[in-house]
């Protein structure tokens, strides 16, 4: 028995200090832990996003948003979740019951599965697939299937039209999206280190590019530039194409035609209620996070902190166990303080608002709750100053911060733009984004093959 325990412990420890992802190292225990962590984190993110969207949108619209459940409505998402779970689960009499039942699960499955390859750090991913980006695009487009089946199975006109709109929209924007992604994959082939097209292989002076999510970020680290600034403005154009296409892909404003409230009531999920409806909701938000993760990984340097050109030498074993390289030094250290400072800032906001809470005894519990929330945030912030913790969460922090910026953009779009009409949406997709993407791909290919041409073009050295 003791020997077995020791064996188990050894198995668990064998992963620690590895320079691979748990999936890559084949360590099932840690892979499971990572899966639980990612999905737990994702659920928290969706809940937080729910609250943030309501609050931010509300403040953009000269109102307060949720204020009653918990201090500043902090518990509102939880209250809503309970309400949704307790609601009656209605399946329309005329609906195709089996398909109606399966549809939300397909959508949720597609939205969650993509996170298997999302790299929160050089080793902070469940696994590193050599076809990572293809896997992400492929699986995330499976959600169309769920939406179409949901619309069809409802056996009702509004969901049907919503589903048709949705599928047409997602399919057409995937084309432009794919072109933008291709241009990035071309960029990864620059600058001599082989990250392996078919695997995260050994170094090779003949560059060949990579499809691995981790490999793409490492290529940016290697080249010392986020791809959004590569071959300026080519990288930027690709980024914009993707940034527009991803909003359409996730059916959000101003491309939220499938669920255009004023036209189709709620689009493809009109007939859904309670828990099933909340699954669509969950899927929508995690899909938003997923596509933002792709954008961050491909163009904004994934887990890299700002100014990657001023980074220390590549440390393939993350700086978990190695001290920060003094040569890369000061800047790395300054940026390493950011996670802690951010949490302290949020804690300070909480305490500031605690002081502003009404003094009436009725608000006593809420005031205490807000102070407690601030205290928890502050504690996390302080923990992040401990060097061991600091170096481990730095990657995750930068990745999440970039994704959060995208989430804010999503909310901002929703507060600002009217909705496109269906034909106009198609026009933007096929007549604007697609030709631009094709031109971009050709130009990027030319410059990636002959980077000296780019130097002649710009009259400057290679970026």
């Amino acid at each position: 028995m003791g020997a077995l325990m020791k064996e188990l412990l050894l198995y668990i420890q064998s992963y620690l200090g590895s320079d691979k992802t748990p999936g890559g190292a084949g360590n099932i225990f840690w892979a499971t832990v990572y899966i639980l962590l990612v999905f737990g984190g994702l659920s928290v993110a969706v809940i937080a996003m729910n609250w943030l969207e309501r609050k931010i949108l509300a403040h953009m619209q000269v109102r307060l948003g949720p204020m009653r459940v918990g201090p500043h409505g902090l518990l509102q998402p939880i209250a809503d979740a309970i309400k949704l779970l307790l609601k009656e689960d209605i399946i329309p009499a005329e609906a195709d019951k089996v398909v109606f039942w399966i549809a939300p699960f397909i959508v949720v499955l597609a939205a969650f599965t993509v996170f298997v390859v999302v790299p929160f750090g050089p080793t902070h991913a469940i696994t590193d697939m050599n076809i990572g980006i293809l896997f992400m695009l492929g699986v995330s487009s499976l959600s169309v299937l769920g939406i179409v089946t949901a619309g069809w199975a409802s056996n009702s006109h509004y969901p049907l039209i919503g589903a048709l709109r949705s599928s047409a929209q997602m399919v057409s924007y995937e084309v432009a999206m794919g072109l933008a992604v291709l241009s990035v994959i071309l960029l990864t082939s620059l600058h001599g280190v082989d990250l392996g097209l078919y695997g995260t292989g050994a170094s090779n002076p003949q560059a060949s590019g990579t499809l691995s999510m981790i490999g793409i970020v490492q290529a940016q680290q290697e080249q010392g530039v986020w791809f959004v600034f590569k071959f300026f403005p080519l990288g930027l154009i690709g980024f914009f194409i993707f940034a527009i296409a991803m909003v359409a892909e996730t059916n959000r404003a101003p491309f939220d035609l499938p669920e255009a409230e004023s036209e189709l009531t709620a689009g493809f999920h009109t007939e859904y209620s309670g828990f099933r409806w909340s699954l669509f909701f969950l899927a929508e938000y995690s899909a938003m996070i997923a596509v933002s993760s792709i954008a961050v990984t491909l163009w904004l340097g994934g887990w890299l902190r700002p100014f990657p050109a001023l980074h220390g030498p590549i440390i393939t074993i993350p700086h978990l166990w190695t001290p920060v390289d003094p040569a890369a030094g000061a800047l790395d250290f300054v940026f390493a303080l950011f996670p802690g400072l951010t949490f302290l800032f949020f804690a300070a906001i909480c305490f500031f608002n605690t002081a502003r809470m009404p003094k009436h005894p009725l608000f006593k519990i809420q005031t205490m709750g807000l102070a407690g929330f601030g205290a928890v945030l502050g504690l996390i912030g302080l923990l992040m100053f401990i060097p061991a913790v600091r170096d481990r969460v730095g990657d995750i922090f930068w990745f999440s911060a970039k994704v959060a910026a995208f989430m804010y953009l999503y909310i901002w779009y929703r507060g600002t733009f009217p909705r496109y009409r269906f034909d106009q949406l198609m026009k933007v997709g096929w007549k604007v984004l697609l030709p631009t993407g094709l031109g971009l791909l050709i130009l990027t290919a030319v410059f990636a093959m002959h980077s000296e041409l780019w130097a002649q073009f710009t009259g400057a050295g290679h970026p």
Partner: protein, 387 residues
């Protein structure tokens, strides 16, 4: 098949059934929009015949909010009927009241004193702005811009506060009486109106900033729901919808009532008769209303607010038609008096009802999303359509 649509006319019924039989090879999809639908502004039911997203034709079903206001009038005295008209176009109750009171005054051959006239103009123009603000917010919301709604409602609130302070009610105000006003204005009324005018002027620019040059807004409204001046006149369309088609017809100028002839203001008109022009015309009307209110507040005379009207109103035998320029178009009252205390018949010419006729013409060949935009731009209130 059990049928939830058994209330619909029989011709439609057979049509739907025939369509169901050939579902897979039918080119047309019949969709029932409303009466409970977020974008039909109340309980309008529109039966759309779609080919994909294209509208092949549509049919409006109204009457879900029918309360028989005109019939009720035959059993009420003239004064008692006054509050009922507020419930027709409930977002422009003051205008409704003005039209009714003036019609009865015309029948009685009395005229409201000058001070009452000025207060009436101020309140009516404030109400026109409130109505346009509600229109702008909901119209933009239908097209997908959710923020303008809150901006307009924030500012509309200030108007409603003035109404509330003046007569105690915010929406169905019953502000005017036959022969003038029941109440003298409250203390500081003029000052508050002036403050409001200065407050709201930059806010109108704010609305325009959100929408007027927004690319998506332009794409969604330009060339959508076009109606030519000829068609508009043929259909009897009035108000901003008619003016956006280029017809300079405003009853405030054409057949001046109250004391509108004392004020200096323009009639904004459009050229193309599309949704964007109607938007621009209404935005311009905001500013014209402000001009009128400013002049009225400057020139408001002292004096009584009620003319000499008998306690029991018994108009002489006869009939009268009187119309005013309500926010949505020409609002007319046709009253037949048999010499008793109750009207023999009242017929209302509601602008929303007549404008709604144009929906079919404006939507044919458009997309589903355009139907929503056009319903919004017609600015209908179902309380007035159904009465």
């Amino acid at each position: 098949m059990t049928d939830p649509t058994s209330l619909s006319p029989p011709s439609l019924e057979t049509h739907v059934e025939a369509h169901d039989k050939t579902f897979l090879d039918a080119n047309e999809l019949v969709i029932n929009m409303g009466p409970q639908h977020p974008a039909t502004h109340g309980v309008l039911r529109v039966i759309l015949r779609l080919d994909g997203e294209k509208v092949m034709g549509l049919e409006c079903v109204i009457g879900y909010l029918h309360r028989g206001v005109e019939k009720i009038a035959e059993h009420r005295t003239y004064a008692m009927f006054n509050p009922y008209v507020d419930r027709m176009d409930y977002v422009a109750a003051v205008s409704n009241g003005l039209g009714y009171c003036e019609a009865v005054e015309k029948l009685l051959n009395v005229e409201a004193p000058p001070r009452a006239q000025y207060v009436r103009v101020i309140l009516t123009e404030l109400n026109r702005m409130a109505s346009h603000q509600l229109w702008l917010g909901t119209h933009a919301l239908d097209i997908g811009a959710i923020t303008p709604l809150f901006y307009t409602f924030r500012d509309r609130e200030e108007i409603l506060k003035i109404f509330e302070k003046y007569c105690g009610a915010r929406l169905t105000t019953h502000a005017f009486r036959i022969g003038g006003l029941q109440y003298e204005t409250y203390e500081g009324f003029e000052k508050e109106v002036r403050t409001f005018v200065n407050f709201v002027r930059p806010k109108i620019d704010e609305y325009e900033e959100l929408l007027t040059t927004n690319r998506i807004w332009l794409e969604r409204t330009k060339g959508v729901g076009v109606i030519s001046a000829k068609d508009a006149i043929a259909l009897g369309v009035t108000g901003p919808v008619l003016r956006a088609s280029g017809v300079k017809w405003d009853i405030r100028k054409a057949q001046p009532y109250a004391n509108y002839k004392n004020f200096d203001f323009d009639i904004p008109t459009g050229e193309n008769g599309d949704t964007y022009d109607r938007y621009i015309v209404r935005m311009a009307e905001f500013r014209q209303s402000l001009r009128i209110i400013e002049q009225a507040v400057e020139g408001i005379p002292e004096g009584p607010v009620m003319a000499k009207v008998p306690k029991v109103i018994k108009p002489p035998v006869g009939e009268i038609y009187h119309s005013i320029e309500a926010p949505k178009g020409e609002l007319g009252y046709f009253i037949v008096s048999d010499g008793s205390t109750q009207p023999y018949r009242i017929r209302v010419r509601p602008p929303s009802f007549v404008n709604l006729q144009a929906l079919d013409v404006m939507c044919r060949g458009a997309m589903v999303a355009d139907v929503i935009a056009v319903i919004g731009t017609l600015d209908i209130v179902l309380g007035e359509v159904d009465r």
